[in-house]
């Protein structure tokens, strides 16, 4: 979706006509706002694509750029400046929302690198089709219990044993989720610091970990739904 463009060809500023490259929000010469630049979310914050980010610094930079770009600052500006302020701020907000969240950031970087990730919302059939091999049996059991619980809820019964069993399962999946997050973080380090070979293996690992994570958190969500969180 967002390709990293190496723009060697200068683009003329709409206001001062002096050329600059296509990766800046403001003209380096006259400081006027520019149309949304090419480039990825990292470049909005002048960052190298990395998975470990200093969130405090990111927030500070988000606030600094918001103060300069936000449509509130252009309420009485020229129409084209208003349009660009809107488009630039949308880009800034989209970028911040994506980068500040560790999972979205990881998914985004992997997509940028060409990985095919499955979408967040899926139907039930797809979910069970991709159950991780080590969890197959347990998941089958869990789904049965969830069905029983739903039926019990419908008829107004309370099955304490079933409830306890589901609560236990939820805790177990939480622990598994934490383990996945731990693994993800070590892959971040591997990617951030590694050479091309290490990066490529880290990418593959992360795609698999994200799939597993999505699967687990859907399970937790289903259990929460049934237990009424």
């Amino acid at each position: 979706m967002f390709k990293v463009l190496d723009s060697a060809v200068p683009i003329a500023c709409w206001s001062c006509s002096i050329g600059h490259n296509d990766s800046t929000l403001f003209c380096p010469h006259c400081s006027k706002i520019q149309p949304p630049p090419g480039g990825d979310y990292f470049s909005v914050f002048s960052l190298e694509p990395k998975l470990n980010l200093d969130l405090a610094k990111l927030e500070h930079e988000f606030h600094r750029l918001s103060r300069k770009l936000h449509p509130d600052r252009f309420a009485r500006a020229l129409d084209n400046e208003k349009q660009w302020s809107l488009a630039d701020t949308a880009l800034l907000n989209d970028a911040y929302r994506t980068l500040k969240d560790p999972l979205r950031r990881t998914e985004y970087l992997l997509k940028l690198l060409g990985a095919e990730l499955s979408a967040g919302d899926e139907s039930k059939e797809e979910k069970s089709a991709r159950a991780p091999a080590d969890l197959l049996e347990e998941v089958f059991e869990l789904n049965m219990q969830l069905e029983e619980m739903r039926a019990a809820r419908k008829s107004g019964e309370t099955d304490f044993a079933l409830e306890a069993s589901l609560t236990q399962a939820r805790e177990k999946y939480h622990v598994l989720l934490e383990a996945v997050d731990e693994d993800l973080r070590s892959e971040w380090d591997a990617w951030d610091e590694g050479d091309n070979v290490k990066r490529s293996s880290a990418q593959k690992e992360m795609v698999a970990l994200l799939d597993r994570r999505r699967y687990l958190s859907n399970l937790v969500r289903d259990v929460n739904e049934v237990l009424g969180a």
């Binding site: 979706m1 936000h70 509130d72 600052r73 809107l86 488009a87 949308a90």
Partner: protein, 654 residues
């Protein structure tokens, strides 16, 4: 007269369910602009004036009254009055039918599904944005009187939980009233701005806003002048109105049972009971019991006492409905109640002690030795915040230079996918402006149109969400199925309103988009509903000033004409009488000119010349009350204590 800036003032407007206000910044402080009657609140009530009797030959132009005087008409001519119109903004026919069960107004008989419903008011029909436009025009005029200059731009507040259609309807109303709406601001966020002006610079605050018809909860993070909304939630159909309706329903049922009268057949009487219910509700905030005592059409009296305990039990289910949104907002922000540093109460309904109790429990306030903030008047705080935002947008003041509001979209945006499910493209609580890009293609060879259905809401099925619009992408170059690649960019702007652009990527052609909003007026319809085109241009503003100056001149001249018949006239000296006659002759001449300033000046001269006469009249009127004092002493006392404009003075506004 206030100094006029090159581009004119931007005012802040709170367009409320029950009351509306207009505010501005005086130096570093926001203030509410009072109306001609001196009151800060303009009741959001619009009345169609009675048909003149006899009807003038050549017809007449229907006129409307807004505010307090319209409220008086509610009991006399209920079929010509509308209130709480905010509840109808941006809503479809079926929703309005449901809503109207609780109100005395009726839909126009020819309302059709798919159109913006019209409300029948006397012999005329109005859309909800038109009614709101009348309220906005009144606020605009109040501001213009205050500044002595046209006001063309405004910031208008809306409930944070308003959807796209409700926001668009509010913007349309502004345009009809001759106002350029520079920004729609969420009400709780506006309240935060009003409080944030002189408050600690960092922290997490929750704004609990229970107004006349809507409930909002917003959680914000403050840091160095940046107000960053973390999450928002609410219910656009929950507020003081619901409490009034509960009390009203009980009273009507009891009256029916005890006195055998079904008041529902007497709209004027229902309004009288409603008024009594509202008064009882207000009284119960400070006292332990309130009395109903209403005369019925048959001469019977309906008398009843309601205790605060009984009242609280009755309204408990209504108040409980605010708890869910609060918990969801906390969860969405990833915060626990303990992490909320401050809670701010907004909206008239937060005066109810039971509401404060509930807020205390939801945010563990007493347990942490905290109290909610209520320092600013809960009826005014939103308008004050709107004035702050107006000042930020005007970019003209040091005090707001460092302030910036980063708000969120309250509802997720999605598109209907195969099987009627929703593919979410922008999540709720995303900072706005926010955007998403999606790609579409064709399913049939040579297909040149693609239809997209956009919905707002959190449910899994499109049918359970709120339909926002259907987009028809047209002019796709004929290609084999699946070959076109149409990129559609969805962008929610800073007002929380969706904009869509599309491009066919293989041909590079910008696809034409036909937008069919599910609820709402077309641009042409809005144009045709603009209230008075003469409200818009500066030249026409001068015309209105002239009309107003002439009418003030007429008022004082009429009073002078009656003067010789008053006993006070004989107490004047010959010189004084001559001065009055000269001044009134002069005004009589000048009032025919086109010069509003000259007419005002001549009015002031006559006003000055008649001052002693007016004092004499007042003395005569109050002398009985001041028995035992000399006329002189009475005069001195009057000069010191009477602050009302004297009998003949035209109403003066700074």
């Amino acid at each position: 007269m206030k100094e006029q800036m090159a581009e004119g003032r931007v005012v802040g407007i709170d367009l409320g369910t029950t009351n509306s206000l207009v505010a501005t910044m005086e130096g570093d402080t926001p203030m509410v602009i009072p109306g001609a009657d001196g009151s800060n609140l303009v009741p959001s009530v619009v009345a169609l004036d009675p048909i003149p009797d006899p009807v003038p030959a050549g017809g007449y132009r229907p006129t409307v009254t807004v505010g307090n005087s319209a409220r008086k008409a509610l009991i006399q001519t209920p079929e010509r009055v509308i209130y709480s119109v905010k509840r109808l903004m941006g809503r479809g026919l079926e929703e309005i039918q449901e809503e109207l069960k609780l109100f005395p107004f009726r839909l126009a008989g020819d309302s059709e599904a798919g159109e913006v419903p019209r409300i029948q008011l006397g012999e005329l029909r109005f859309t909800p944005p038109e009614i709101s436009a009348y309220i906005l025009r009144q606020l605009k005029r109040n501001a213009e009187r205050f500044f002595g200059a046209p006001v063309m731009q405004a910031v208008i507040t809306v409930p944070a939980y308003f959807n796209d259609a409700q926001r668009q309807a509010t913007k349309d109303a502004g345009r009809m009233a001759g106002l350029e709406v520079l920004r729609l601001v969420n009400e709780p966020t506006a309240a935060a701005l009003a409080y944030g002006l002189d408050r600690a610079k960092t922290g997490t605050i929750a704004i609990y806003d229970l107004g006349g018809g809507t409930f909002d909860i917003s959680i914000l993070k403050l840091s160095d002048g940046i107000f960053e909304v973390q999450s928002t939630n609410g219910d656009t159909h929950l507020g003081g109105d619901d409490i009034d309706n509960l009390l009203l329903a009980i009273a009507l049922n009891e009256i029916h049972a005890e006195h055998g009268i079904d008041l529902r057949q007497h709209p004027g009487a229902v309004q009288a009971v409603r008024k009594a219910a509202i008064e009882a509700k207000i009284k119960l905030s400070t006292e332990s019991a309130a009395h109903f005592d209403i005369e019925l059409p048959n001469g019977d009296r309906y008398q009843r006492e309601i205790s605060r305990a009984g009242f609280e039990m009755l309204i408990d289910p209504v108040l409980k409905r605010t708890a869910g949104p609060c918990k969801q907002a906390l969860a969405d922000a990833g915060l626990t109640p303990e992490q909320i540093d401050e809670v701010v109460l907004v909206g008239g309904s937060t005066r109810i002690p039971a509401v404060r109790q509930l807020v205390d429990e939801l945010f563990h306030l007493t347990a942490r030795g905290k109290r909610p903030h209520t320092e600013l008047n809960p009826d005014e705080v939103v308008a004050l915040g709107a004035a702050v935002q107006a000042n930020i947008l005007a970019g003209s003041s040091k005090s707001t230079e460092e302030m910036l509001l980063l708000d969120v979209t309250p509802l997720s945006l999605g598109i209907e996918a195969l099987g009627g499910t929703v593919a979410r493209i922008i999540q709720r609580n995303s900072t706005i402006p926010a955007s998403a890009t999606e790609h579409f293609t064709t399913g049939v060879d040579g297909q040149t149109n693609v239809a997209i259905h956009v919905v707002q809401g959190e449910r899994e099925l499109a049918a359970d969400c709120r339909s926002l619009a259907r987009f028809d992408l047209k002019g796709i170059p004929p290609m084999n199925a699946g070959l076109p690649r149409i990129e559609v960019k969805f962008l929610i702007d800073a007002d929380g309103i969706l904009r869509v652009t599309a491009r066919e990527q293989r041909s590079g052609k910008a696809a034409q988009i036909e937008v069919k909003p599910t609820y709402g007026l077309t641009d042409e319809q809005v144009e045709s509903m603009i209230l008075d085109s003469f409200d818009n241009a500066e030249a026409d503003f001068a015309k209105r000033l002239l009309i107003e100056a002439r009418s003030e001149a007429e008022t004082i001249l009429a009073a002078v004409e009656r003067a010789p018949s008053s006993p006070a006239w004989n107490q004047l000296t010959g010189d004084e009488k001559t001065a009055i006659n000269l001044a009134s002759d002069y005004l009589n001449k000048v009032k025919l000119s086109e010069n509003a300033a000259a007419i005002r000046e001549a009015t002031l001269i006559l006003d000055h010349a008649t001052r002693r006469f007016a004092e004499l009249m007042m003395e005569a009127a109050v002398s009985s009350a001041l028995r035992g004092k000399t006329m002189n002493a009475a005069g001195e006392e009057l000069a010191e204590t009477v602050t009302a404009p004297h009998a003949m003075a035209p109403a003066e506004f700074k």
